[in-house]
Amino acid sequence: MKAKRIKMLSLALAATMLLAACGGGGGKTPANNGGNSGSGSNAPSNGGEPIKEIVLWEASGTRELENFFIQNTEQAKDLNVLCNAYAPLLEIDNKGVLQPAVATEWGSEDDGLTWTFKLRDGVTWVDVNGNYKADLTAQDWVTGLEWVLNYHKNAGNNTSMPIAMIAGAGEYYEYTKELEAAEAMALDTTKFLEMVGIESPDKNTLIYHCSKNAPYFDTVATSACLYPLSQALIDELGVDNMVGMSNEQMWYSGPYTITSYIMNNEKVLTKNPAYWDKDASLFDTVTIRMMGDTNLDDQLYETGEVDQCDLEESNLRAIYEDENHEFHDQLVEKRPRKYSYQMHFNFNKLDAQGNPDVNWNTAAANENFRKSIYYGMDLTARWARDNFIYPTHCENLAYTMKGLLYFSDGTDYVDKVIEQLGYPTTNTTDAPRRYDANKAAEYRDKAIEELTAQGVTFPVEMDYYVLARNQAAQDAATVLQNIIESIGDNYIKVNIKTYVASLTKEVTGPQLHSVNNSGWGADYGDPENFLGQELYQDDGAYYSNKYSYINKVDEAEAPELIATYKEFTEMAKAAAAICDDMDARYQAYVDAEVYFLEHALTIPFNYEVVWQLTHVNDYSKMEAMYGCQTYTYKNWETSTEAYTTADYEGFLADFNS
């Protein structure tokens, strides 16, 4: 009776609030709206029905879209949405294999110097309501690339790959830089076609001329830099208004139009009725709810307001350890995200006053010191913070990301690396494969002896930075601190320091870090894109120039370190020169990577593998290990019934087979 009264009172209060709130109302509806999907939804295998209107979520603080112009952004938070609005030349399937999209045929007959794409007819640009605007032709790729490479139009986004690969691209970028802004903004594609290696001889043919042999160039076609842009749209909006265009002004050629965008609240993607791929399984709508508090997703999943949620450690533990919990049998492990995390050393660390941290720099240049950390870190406790059920699923032993590349016999590139490093390719135990306390102690003792002779004082202070307001990151750093300090008494002292907002501007830019964990996701499908970031004296090598600062190290002070880097660089460049035999190319890269890791120039750290509750079969999603198509909501298998642990075990078995 009392409970009833409380409920009545609550309802009365709620009714008052409802009256106070202006605007229309509506009843609670479940997130997933089952039933027959309009166009060929994948039939779920667990007895449910395909979801027609899926509701997903993102964190509003860091993952909100800022830009609707795909050529003008390379931020994942933009591209994750925009990849649904534009049609690419090629797509990636759920096994990570390139498939035709707008291009029906493609290839190179000169070891990757010239690439020809044949485009299909019947692909169109539409407005937000799906009304026809123009045909999509090869010229739209020319217009798109011109925008990317025009210094004044594009603010430097998406330029690095075209400049590195396409003939004349760098020259055109420099040419436009020299022009007055107004003059550059007014440029059409005439001068561009004269200078840059791209042609569209007819509306269905697109040809790229590379500046070097690029046998992987077709994988670049999944990146935003090679997406189309209609000149008619530029004419309609005006060149100055392109960057600020809204979802209602832009044109669409992809599977969805963005029919609603309320910043930090929700986005609604609606099926594009004119989408070229009529066999594709699409949702009627995809709603992406933005959440200020990222811990709310579990709550929303429980109330049926979203169709998937990630599980933080505490929630995961609560569900996992209670066999009677309603979600216990629905716990499923996500597939690894596409980033391979490494612990990067800074070989030219500075202190807050800008003076070299000689003690650290001398220690980091010593191979035995690095190897003592390489073998001495038992990262199980650190991985368990993300995945306490199977911590070793987060184990990473290589530099390149697993699943990115395969030899012609189907062997994963990373498995070759692991094999050559001397570890089993699968971990059948709960113990990390690389951790070896005895080896670590051996290297530690040698390092102490050598470094003491060089005047290094112990413990060596290691500065490790985390975001100030991120408690989870600080907790994880504390775990890592314990792991590293346990390598030896009075050996290394880890100082956990914080930055306020920007790691680049506050820490890695001023070279204050001793080590930093950073994940690299491939831009295109070649080992060059991973190992190329670590080359010595190479302007395009991201980690060498921005994290390890190896190029600033005085060779006289660290001759062995520099010699190791030079040797690795030569090996990687020799691998890059092999363009006629992909197996030989990959094997040469494997050798370079193994050399790099055996000298502990970085330390492979982890993969991100977390747990979730979901109505989506992740194994049906595009397995986009490179490019910007990871979040394309196409051909997803979903179910009104939540998937179970057993369902996912079956999906994994099918996938591996």
């Binding site: 409920k7 609550s10 309802l11 209060l13 709620a14 008052t16 609030m17 409802l18 106070a20 709130a21 202006c22 605007g23 229309g24 109302g25 509506g26 009843g27 609670k28 509003s60 603080g61 800022e66 830009n67 112009f69 003008n72 952004t73 390379e74 931020q75 603010a155 430097g156 690095s160 830089k177 802004a181 208004n241 960057v243 600020g244 265009m245 809204s246 609603s260 309320i262 910043m263 930090n264 609240n265 929700e266 609604v268 709810r289 933005m290 959440m291 200020g292 508090d293 709310l296 709550q299 929303l300 429980e302 109330t303 307001e305 907002a501 920007s502 790691l503 680049t504 501007k505 830019g509």
Partner: protein, 316 residues
Amino acid sequence: MIKYTIKRLLQSLLTVLVVATIVFLLLRMLPNEYYFTEDQVNKLSEEEKNERLRAAGLLDPIGEQLLRYYGGLVRFDFGDSRRIQTGVPVLKVISERFMVSMRLGVSALLIALAIGIPLGILQAMNKDKIPDHIGTAYTVFINAVPPLVSYSLILVFGAHVLGLPSLYSTRRPGISSILPIACLSLASIAHYALWTRRYMVDEMNKDYIRLARIKGMSNRNIMIRHVLKNAFVPLAQYIPASFLLTISGSLLAERFFSTPGMGPLLTDAISRYDLNVVQGCVVIYATLGVIGVFLGDVLMMIFDPRIRLVGKGETR
């Protein structure tokens, strides 16, 4: 009074200008690196960065930049957003959020006034009795418990027991507004109940109330005609500002319920270094603040005939 009003308006304008100038100068003290995104910091050469800063006018002498900024203010032009919504005019970014915050805020404030003031009256009329203790317990609870905790309790109760949406939705603004409004009202109800009770109890202890009682005036008449009327004067001063500042939104509640309002905009803009949006927000908040204070003074004058708005040195 007209002369005084004009003078106050001019003072208000000056206040806004001073605030805008301070914010402008503070933001210009940030290192120029913050103008660029993380990617741009890594990718652009020093020469390219300088060129972009020059094109944006950020390398001009500070006086020149300030004058340009004032010129923009006069035209209500705060420039374009660089990060929050790339290339979109700041005024558009702000105006899209303005109405959402105001609608929720005004609803919450009306509920707070409708419940808080009667609750305060009830407490005052029943001082040291059960209704007073209940009201005091509520006020203490609301003030003692961190808002995030009370919001979480409301969320769990609202979503699980009543089946209300957990997040605000522009497609179902009515029903999805209930939980944010409930959260926003909680503290305001406690605030108005607390101060209404306090001012009324103060008044009830004054000599003129005792005199009224001795003269045989009924308790109801004393409460309505004297106590409440006089107790309301100091409360009235803050009501206009409370209404106007609903536009600025609530950072915590709006973020908690993913409401696309003004609340999180300023902090988002600061954390993403969208300087134009920061400047726009601060100028608007400052303007609303000074208008609120001015209207509060006017309202006090209306409720208390003894109060006259006059300039310094003039007599009432």
